[in-house]
């Protein structure tokens, strides 16, 4: 591992709480699930606040096995299954509507996140990097988390790690400064990904027997984050 990089686990107490704030069921699966599973295995707590049910998603299976009406219920079930695979102790579904986070009344959105932070006193919050996360809901979620954290006095602010994947994220943000080896938690991670059956048809091909494959380890074995200064 690059010696300049830190790990999440070196920065927060093993038994502390991570608060995850993301807009869609499945946002946790590829980039974060291994880190959460590892933190939980080390005695940590995780609250996952998922803002919407991804009810405007377009993937519904091939051929479609649900519809606009049924999709939120399907995705709620997938989210619960993913959370269970990771071992998340506290899953909150906050009831916002997919695709509307950027238009929400800011006092309502920021206040909801602020109240969670005050209630849970997490050591670390993980969200999307505002401006570098492609989907407007991702950017708006990250921006709301930053505003909510900044309402707290400096001494009470938790650490903030962000995920980014816009084309310019490396050029603008530099390399991620946090890198977690999650290769011992690929079973949790693959189960989290596979839980989102309506969204990721292709991953069903990645069977459990292939978990030891070098390719999978390389692709999924590291999770990287940027420290966002607040």
């Amino acid at each position: 591992m690059d010696n300049n990089k830190k790990t999440t686990f070196s920065l927060i107490p093993a038994d502390s709480r991570i608060l995850v704030v993301l807009p869609h069921p499945d946002d946790e699966a590829f980039s974060l699930s291994g880190t959460l599973a590892k933190h939980i295995a080390q005695g940590g707590q995780v609250t996952y606040a998922c803002l919407t049910l991804g009810e405007m998603g377009r993937n519904m299976g091939i051929p479609p096995f649900t519809n606009r009406i049924g999709l939120p219920t399907i995705r709620k079930g997938e989210l619960e299954k993913s959370a269970e695979a990771i071992g998340i102790q506290d899953l909150r579904m906050l009831g916002f509507h997919d695709k509307t986070i950027e238009f929400e009344v800011k006092e309502v959105l920021d206040g909801t996140i602020y109240d969670l932070i005050v209630e849970l006193k997490p050591s670390l919050i993980v969200t999307f990097s505002p401006g570098y996360s492609v989907h407007p809901d991702h950017d708006a979620t990250g921006a709301a988390v930053v505003r909510a954290v900044e309402r707290l006095p400096q001494s009470e602010r938790p650490l903030l790690h962000t995920m980014a994947f816009s084309k310019n994220c490396y050029a603008e943000l530099g390399q991620p400064d946090i890198e977690n080896d999650v290769s011992d938690f690929l079973e949790n991670k693959m189960k989290s990904i596979q839980a989102h059956r309506s969204q990721f048809q292709a991953v069903e091909m990645l069977g459990q027997n292939k978990l030891k494959d070098k390719e999978i380890k390389e692709r999924f074995g590291k999770e990287r984050f940027w420290t966002h200064s607040v």
Partner: protein, 114 residues
């Protein structure tokens, strides 16, 4: 039609908030989409003169723009907006035109039916 100036459009959205309005909302990939390119899925939909009252609305993005209108029980959402009609004083006429100038999306609000 002029290119959208977001600050101006936000003002117009605020002015129409909390009133009984008529909405025309439309999106189309064009009637010839599949004829011109068989990989394209032709789709079009519009709703005209539906009644609407919103409690909060905003425009966002760097262009093409997105508009979201929050109602008592739900949302109106439109993405891909590029132009507005500058000669309209009472009504808000927004549209999204592609690089060939064709209309792809329209969002129109008025106190009187269209």
């Amino acid at each position: 039609m002029l290119l959208i100036e977001p600050t101006l459009i936000q003002q117009r959205i605020d002015d129409l908030q909390d009133q009984d309005l008529y909405i025309h909302l439309e999106m189309t990939t064009g009637a010839y989409a599949a004829h011109l390119d068989s990989t394209k899925h032709p789709a079009a939909t519009f709703i005209s003169n539906a009644t609407l009252r919103y409690i909060h609305g905003s425009i966002s993005g760097e262009g093409p723009y997105r508009v979201g209108l929050k109602t008592e029980k739900g949302w109106v959402y439109s993405e891909g907006l590029t132009h507005y009609e500058e000669t309209e004083q009472e009504r808000l006429i927004l549209a999204g035109h592609d690089t060939q100038g064709k209309l792809v999306v329209a969002l129109q609000l008025s106190k009187e039916p269209f």
